[in-house]
Symmetry: C2
Subunit: 148 residues, 2 copies
DNA sequence: TATTGTTATACTCTATAACTATA
DNA sequence: TATAGTTATAGAGTATAACAATA
């Protein structure tokens, strides 16, 4: 082959997803600030709501973060009244995290913020383009072993 | 309305793009390590290659990072022989960053890594799904004012 | 004075390691 | 001894502020 590879870095899926992910994540974080939470706090609420994990160590594994980070996330959410820590009577080492009614409301409010961002993000797309994007994101998330 | 909003946070475009962007970005960073660079270094090479910016302050604006960060990125790339700093004779305050041949080669090798990741990422998609994804990512990037 | 680049400093996020309580 | 959680510490990444050189 005599032709050269002139694909630009910035047009690769990997580079664009990384950059757009950072921008979208930062913007989500800014908006979450009114509720005094960060994306990882909301991710934790979501994990608890799904019932996929209850103890802090289980939550850490699902979220792919260090157990020590779960401690501080849970501390903050507990301070907001969004979660309660309950000792497992069968194994008193385990702290079972329980979503409170306040926590469910907080999750709903944060989800509403994400949906509002979605409208801004995909508002300029044709319906079939939006459907295609959602479908592909769902499949990529699934391929990465992410929940839902 | 009596129905409740039961859209899940994890299925929003905003949340998924943020999470997938982090995963993809981290993976790209891991692979770039063999070339002793990080994503921002490669982004800078790409900006220089595009000719959209030359002075460090211009590069900082295009990349949306602090000027002080451009200093350390340029220091590192200069150490690798990928860029040269040249004082602008017309305004000796300006450091014009010039991509070297070595820098072009480095950019090409890093772009090849991104393309290899693309194949893994979209390999499971149908051709029209992949085309749709690339099209949508290009439009979202454009809407965010990103280059290319 | 204003601007470009640099250096010094501090802050955020998160992981690793040491430690406590329970098993 | 091993495990769940916690606390202490450290590192990466990046911004802000102070500074130097030039305009």
């Amino acid at each position: 082959m005599l032709t050269v590879n002139d694909v630009k870095l910035t047009s690769t899926v990997a580079f664009r997803m990384g950059v757009l992910g950072t921008i979208v994540g930062d913007r989500f974080a800014e908006r979450l600030a009114v509720h005094d939470v960060k994306p990882k706090h909301v991710a934790m609420l979501s994990v608890l709501e799904s019932g996929m994990a209850a103890s802090q160590l289980e939550v850490a594994k699902i979220m792919r973060v260090a157990p020590s980070l779960v401690v501080s996330l849970a501390d903050h959410l507990e301070g907001l009244g969004a979660v309660r820590r309950e000792r497992d009577p069968e194994d008193r080492r385990r702290q079972v995290l329980a979503l409170t009614e306040e926590g469910r409301g907080l999750l709903a409010r944060c989800t509403a913020l994400a949906r509002a961002m979605d409208e801004e993000l995909v508002g300029g797309l044709a319906p079939e383009e939006e459907a295609g994007l959602r479908n592909v994101l769902r499949r990529l998330a699934s391929a990465e072993g992410l929940p839902e």
